[in-house]
Amino acid sequence: MGRFNQGSLVVSSSPHIMDNVNTTRIMLDVLIALIPAFIMSGFIFGPRALLLTITCIAACVVFEAGFQYLIKKDSTITDLSAVLTGTLLGFNLPSSLPFWMAVVGSFVAIVVVKQIFGGIGQNFANPAITARIVLLVSFATPMTTWPLPNQLLGTVDAVTGATPLGILNMGTDLAALPSNMDLFLGYVGGSLGETSAIALLLGGIYLIWRKVIEPSIPLAFIGTVFIFALLTGQDPIFHIFAGGVMLGAFFMATDYVTSPRLTSGKIIFGIGCGLLTMVIRLYGSYPEGVSFAILLMNILTPQIDMLLRRRTYGGVKI
């Protein structure tokens, strides 16, 4: 093949009609959708939150380029996937986390979870989610020290406290739970990008409008959390706005590579995420279960795909 002039003799299989949808464009759309939450994180937690996210982005891009240079592969940093992973990882960290820990997390996300498995499209687990869990397990105290929102811009932030879900988990001081309005806007303790439900909803709706994601996973995920909370006598509004449900449902569970291909599979995936999230929240020792739920469903994804794949009539079992 290589000897022919590539331009004049291209024979390719279908599809033949192309549009301008490609990886870079999709990643860019997701990044655009994350801008409101990025801005809100700055308002809620101050400039250090912005700086931490930018550190993650820079570290992810450097690790991606560096690793690909080391193994002599073409660099894929221009597809923006490393930028997106860095942004999502940053959003999953408390704003007071030491910068070097964020860099360790970026290394796990890009090198261990993504590049070692062959790079973009070949990882079976979501890089940002896995990196967050690695950090949570490795540095439990800094990863669960939540700065309270400082509503005065730029003040030195030293006050920490429990997240709304943390308060619920300890069960001692339920009067300290924030109002649902505060949760909706995001003026509560938590990971820096996950608190503002309204900003994340805006981004999610943008993604659905741009047809970057199907609404099936977010709807199934959030709906399951809502119904589960209702059935167990919890406040359903509180549970869908608290913690990482919005960020997880719209931006991390919908990752093409680590979620099922068919819509039916996506619905099963979303329901599974919702169920596991609520089981871990209400019964587990961790106050929040979104990241574990998504990682567990990532692991189940090959089985879901296998279960739902179209069987050819008269075909043989693989």
């Binding site: 193994i71 498995f117 079976f124 871990i280 019964y283 587990g284 020792s285 279960g289 090959p302």
Partner: protein, 197 residues
């Protein structure tokens, strides 16, 4: 009844033998490439675990404890389990030759499998009753099955990946196993919480 359920589900999820206790890694890595053999191996492990417990528990309580020779526990358990696995192998060879073929070298490996020996010794360390021990062994085996089924899907998913040369084969599989194990940490405390402890 409730304590039985707690023991059963804890053994499957929270104290998963492979993913949380890191026992039985050899068959976990060796036979998880294909779903069929993974399931076959897991059923063999469930069977051997329950059988081994059923036999070693009375031996411990009726023989080793009265004679005060508890220090012989390890060697006696190994002997008993080895004999049992041979029995399973003979039975499989005779009645399910296809399964015997697909398990190949791995069936004799259960003989020296730390998961099987581990479950019999842990039952006694936890001072479970006879019934509790059997339930715990069954749960440990089902947990092994769960880990195998989940992991076989991932193995097939990443089979044709374009790994960097240094990570082809076992290194990448071990890293994948560590990620699955991380996910199972999320279950900590779930069973106790569910049953209101």
């Amino acid at each position: 009844m409730q304590d039985m359920l707690i023991i059963l589900f804890s053994a499957i999820l929270v104290n998963n033998f492979v993913l949380v206790k890191f026992l039985g890694i050899c068959p976990f890595l060796g036979v998880s490439k294909k779903l069929d053999s993974a399931v076959g191996m897991s059923f063999a492990v469930i069977f051997v675990m329950v059988l081994a417990t059923a036999v070693t528990y009375p031996i411990h309580m009726g023989l080793l404890v009265p004679l005060q020779i508890g220090y012989l526990q390890t060697i006696i358990f190994i002997l008993v389990i080895a004999a049992l696995v041979q029995l399973v192998e003979i039975a499989l060879k005779k009645y399910v030759p296809a399964l015997h073929q697909s398990l190949g070298v791995y069936l004799p490996l259960i003989t020296t499998n730390c998961a099987v020996l581990g479950v019999t010794i842990l039952n006694i360390d936890e001072s479970y009753t006879y019934i509790q021990s059997l339930v715990n062994s069954f749960g440990a085996g089902v947990g092994f099955l769960l880990a195998m089924v989940l992991f076989s899907g991932i193995r097939q998913r990443i089979e044709n990946n374009n790994f960097p040369a240094a990570f082809k084969g076992i290194p990448s599989v071990l890293i994948a196993a560590s990620i699955v194990s991380l996910a199972f940490m999320g279950f900590s405390g779930v069973i106790d919480g569910l049953f209101g402890l």
